[in-house]
Amino acid sequence: MSHTPPFRLARGGRLINRAFQLAFRFDGRHLRGVQGDTLASALLASGQMLMGRSFKYHRPRGPLASGAEEPNALFGLGQGGRFEPNQRASTTALVAGMVLRSQNCWPSLDADVGAINNWLSPLFPAGFYYKTFIHPRPFWKHVFEPIIRRSAGLGRAPVDPDPDRYEQAYAFAEVVVVGGGIAGLTAARDAADKGGRVIVLEQNPVWGGRTPIDHDGGQAAIDALLADLRGRDNVTLRRNTMATGLYDHGYLLAREALADHDPNQGIPRQRLWRIRAGHVISATGALERPLSFACNDVPGVMLASAVRDFIVDYGVAPGQRIVVVTNNDDAYRTALTAQAAGLEVVAVIDARSQVKGDLPQAVRAAGIPVMTGKAIAKVKGGTHVEGVAICDQAGNGRVTATLDCDVVAMSGGWSPVVHLYSHCGGRLTWDEPEAMFRPDPTRPPLGTDGKSMVTVLGAANGDLRCAGDLERSEGATMPVWVMPQNAAYRLRAKMWLDFQNDVKVSDVELAAREGYASVEHAKRYTTLGMATDQGKVSNINGLAVLSNALNQPLEATGTTTFRPPYTPLTLGTIAAEAKGDTFQPLRKTPIHVWHVRNGASFEPVGHWRRPYSYPRAGEDRHSAVTREILAVRKSVGTLDASTLGKIIVKGPDSGRFLDMMYTNMMSTLPVGKCRYGLMCNENGFLMDDGVVARLSADTWLCHTTTGGADRIHGHMEDWLQCEWWDWQVYTANLTEQYAQIAVAGPKARELLQRLPGTIDLGQEALPFMTWAEGELAGIPARVYRISFSGELSYEIAVPAGRGLALWEQLHDLGRDLDITPYGTEAMHVMRAEKGFIMIGDETDGTVIPQDLGLHWAISKKKPDYIGKRAQARSFMKDGSRWQLVGLESLDGRVLPDGAYAVEPGVNANGQRKTQGRVTSSYHSPTLNRPIAMGLVRHGPARMGQELEFPMPSGEVMKARIVDPVFYDKEGTRLNG
C-alpha cells in the first residue's frame, strides 16, 4: 500500500456512511470525514495522528482510546458562546462545518514551545510545585500563584454566554438499566418480563457495546434483543444518555445529548434526567488498561481495543504495521481484525510465558508470530511510533530484538467500570486471578430497605466474557504493572500512567518513598487521575505501582473515591432553565406593575423585588429617598407593604400558643386592638417582630417581616405539629391573599376620608394601635392604625386582586396633597429617626430583646415563652452585653454602617479591643444631620460619652452616645 498511516481503509466501517462527506476545519486546515465519524476517526482518516499535547510536559499525543476514557485527544470545540474546551475526540460526532482547535500548545500543535518542559522533565518531579514555591512565603501570593494560575488548566474557559437551550426532566422507573451492551439489554429484557417500568440508558449513539465488534454474530444477538425490547410498552430505550451519577434512594442523574453538536436544530442541546429508580442495574462494561513500558505515550501507541474499534467501526487504519503487546487473550482479537483488514501484524508480544487459548492459536494459524514471555523495552520514535525494542518480561530491559512498526496495540487487561456502583457507597474487592477491582457482593450500596440498590452485571461485575454462547474460551490474564518486570529507573521515568497529567511510574514511586502511603494523598501529590478523564485508564495501574512501592497487596492500598459525574457535565445542563429571567422565581406584589410604570428603582428582599425609591427625572436613588421622606413628614405618602407576612392563627388554644410564640402577652389583647410583638428562638435570640391584631375571640392575625413570612409560618407549624400537637390551633399563611398599603403622614387621614366607605377613620373611632373592618372605595378592607414611620399612619389590607385599584385611587385623590410613593429606603430611614429597630440591622442572630431596650415587650407575668429559659442564662443577664443607643456623629459626617467603637488595649490576637458597633446609620433628611444606632457596652448608662471609630484609612471618627429616638420622642405625630 502507498498510504502514509493513518488512513481510511478501502472497505469496512460499520458506523460510517461513505456516501456523505463532511467538511471540517482543524487548526485552520480544511479536512473531510464521513457521516458516522467521530472527530478521532475523521482525523485519523485524514492522516492526523497527533491530536494534542500533554498538560505538564507538552508531549505530543495521539488518541489512546476509542471511548469515554480517552485522555489525550481533547479539543476546544466551537466558536463564541458555543466554544467548549476538553471535548473528547473519541466520543464527539463529526458534524459538517465543525471547527476544532488543539489545546495546550503554542504557537501550534506541531511546533510547541512549551515542549521545552519535556526536556526539563527531570527538574519537575512529583510534588515539584509544593517543594519549589513554598519559600519565601510572600512570593506565593504575589509571584508564584499568578504564574502557575496562568499556565494551569487544560483548555481555555469559554468567555461568552452559552446560547444553547438546556432542560431537565424527571422520570420514575422500577428498574433502570445503565449500559446498552449485551449484559444490559439482556437484563432489561428479564426485568421487563417481571412488569414495571424499565428505562435503559446507553451513553453512545449505538447499542451493543463491544459485542458487535468482538464476536461473530454479535450484531445479530444485539438486534434480536433490541427488537424484543422495542416491542414492549414498559421499556424505554434512551441512546446518547450518559448516567452521570447515582445518589441515595436510587436517585440517578443522566445526561441526554439531544443536539450536542448540531445546535442549529433549534431543540434543547442537552437534557438532564433526574430519575427515581426502584433498582439500578449497572451494566457499564469495562475499560482496557494500558501497559506501562517506556515511551508508551508516543502517538501510535493505543489500546488494543481502540485499534480494532477504529478498523471495525470507522474503516480507519491507525497504522499499517502493527505490533500487539498484551498480558491476556482478548488483545489477540486486534491482531486478527487488523490482518483481516489487510494490515500487517508484525508480531504479538505476550508477557505470559505460556499461551494456548483459542484466540492465540487462531493468530498463530494466521501466520502471525507470537513472542511469549516478552515485553516492550522501549518505543522508538518521537511524534509517531517507528518501532519497538523487545526484551524479556522477567528481566531489566536488555534489548533482544527490535521490530519496525507504526502502531503499538497494547492491552494490560480490563478494569470493570464500577463508578455508579461506587458513587453511593458500594465497596470493591480485588480479584486476584483476573487482576481487577470488582464489586464486592457482600458490601453493595444499600437502599431504604437495607438491601442492595444496585445490581452489577456483565463486564462491570468482572465477568469479562459475558456474551454467552458467542464467547470463545480465553486463557488467564497475568498481572503486569511494569514492563519489563525489573525495569531500570531510566525506563520507569518514561512509563506514563496518567497521560493527560503526565504522571509516570517514577513519580508514584517517588511519592511512596516520600511517605505518601495513603492512596488519596498520593493521588493529590502526584495529580494521578486528577485530569478531566478522572483517571479512567490510569487509576488501577497507578494503584498497583503504589502498592508495589509500598510493598503491600493492592487490596490494602484500595482505590481513590469514585465521584460523579462519570464524564464532565456542561454547566448549562445543570442550570437548565435557571438562568436569565428564570434564574430564580422573582416574586411581585399586586402593585408591582405600577412601581415599574412609575420608575421605581428596585431592591431584592428575599425573592421579592421591592421599590427602593422612585427617582424622578434628574434624581438619583438617594435624592429620591430624601424627597420621599420630606413628603411623608410634611403631607402624605404610600408604601407597598404587601410583602409583610400575614399569618392567621385561630382556635381555642391560640392565645396560649401566641403567648409562647411571642415574648409579650398576646392572649390579653382585646378584640379590635393591635400589639407590637417580638419572637425569639429557643436560644433566646430575637428572630422576628411585627404587629399582632386580635380579629375575634379565637382569631389573631400576626404580621411578620417580609423575609420572615414563610419561616415564621413554618416555625409555628413546627411547634404545633411536633410539640403541642394536642393544642387546638390552626394557622394559615395569608401573605399573598392581601395587598397591604401603608398611608402615612399628617394628611393620611384627610386623604383616606376622601374615599367613600363604611369605616370611621377618626381619632376617636380608630385610635393608634387599633383596627377596623369594612369597605373603602367599594373594596372590602381591614385598616390597621399602626405606624413604622412615626407619622399618623394607616395600613390598609385588601384582597390582592384589588390592591392596584386602591393604590391608584389614592394617588388620584391625593394629587393636591402631593401624595408621594415611598420605597424601602425611606421606610428604613424614617424608622431609624424614630429609633425603631429593624430585624437584620439591630439584630444579627446574637441579639436578645433585652439588648435593644425592649424590656417593655417582654412579659414578666407569663410562666414561659420560647427563649425565656435561654434569656435567664448568666451570659444573657450579664450587664456588660452591648446595648442599644443612639449615636451622634461629631463632625457632621455619616458613620459607616458596621463600624466598631474601640477601647484601650489589644486582645490576644493583637487586635484593638472593641466596645460597640454601628447597626444603622443614615443621613436624616428630616433633621438634616446624620443619625445612627448602635450596640455599646453599658451604652444606656453612658449618655453623652464619646466613642472613637477608627476607619480603614487610619482616620478616627467620633460619635456621642445619645438617646436612640431622634424624632418626635413624645409620639404626638403617630398618635395624632
Binding site: E736, Q737, A800
Partner: protein, 173 residues
C-alpha cells in the same frame, strides 16, 4: 415556528377556600356545605365542571369554585363548622392558576415537577413544586391544572412556556 408542546393558559375567575378541620369529625358537615364528598388522601373530588374539593393535608382541604360563589361558600362553610375547631379562609387572591393542555402536556409537567405522572390517578392531587416554586396539580380534561402563588405568576408562566418549547418532547429519539 413549530407548535409548542402544550397550550399554557392562565385561569382567572376562580375562587378558593382553604378549610382546616378534623376531617374525621367534621367531614360530613364540610361535604354538605361544599356540595362535594370529602376526598381521600392525595385525591380531589369534582362535580365535573364547577367545583372541586382537594385533599391538601390530613387536616386541610381546598375548595375550588367560581369566584362569584366564594362569599356564599365561605359563609356556608363557616356556619357548618360553627361548633367545630376549624379555620375557613378565602385564599382566592393568593393563587395563580394555569391550565396546561395538549398532546404533550405530560412532558411539560415532567420537565418541571418531580411528580410520577404514571402513578397519578385520574382524581389525584399532588402538592409539589414547579422548578423553584411551590405548586400543586391535578388532572383536567386534556391536561393539568396547576396552582401556585400569585407573586410567582410571571415565573410560572415563563417556565411553563419554556418547558413547552417546540420539538422538545421527551419521547426517546
Amino acid at each position: 415556528m413549530a407548535e409548542a408542546l402544550a397550550h399554557i393558559a392562565r385561569v382567572t375567575g376562580l375562587g378558593m377556600v382553604s378549610i382546616r378541620a378534623d376531617l374525621q369529625r367534621a367531614g360530613d358537615a364540610i361535604a354538605e356545605a361544599a356540595g362535594l364528598a370529602v376526598p381521600g388522601m392525595t385525591r380531589i373530588v369534582t362535580d365535573g365542571s364547577r367545583r372541586a374539593l382537594g385533599w391538601m393535608s390530613p387536616d386541610e382541604l381546598l375548595l375550588v369554585l367560581p369566584a362569584a360563589e366564594r362569599a356564599e361558600a365561605l359563609a356556608t362553610l363557616t356556619d357548618a363548622l360553627a361548633g367545630e375547631h376549624a379555620l375557613v379562609v378565602d385564599v382566592s387572591d393568593a393563587r395563580a392558576v394555569f391550565d396546561v393542555t395538549g398532546r404533550h402536556a405530560d412532558d411539560v409537567i415532567r420537565k418541571l415537577m418531580p411528580v410520577d405522572l404514571d402513578e397519578l390517578p385520574p382524581d389525584g392531587l399532588r402538592r409539589s413544586r414547579a422548578a423553584q416554586t411551590a405548586a400543586a396539580l391535578w388532572r383536567i380534561p386534556g391536561g393539568f391544572r396547576l396552582i401556585g402563588f400569585r407573586s410567582t405568576a410571571d415565573y410560572l408562566r415563563m417556565i411553563l412556556e419554556n418547558a413547552a418549547f417546540p420539538r422538545s418532547q421527551l419521547a426517546a429519539r
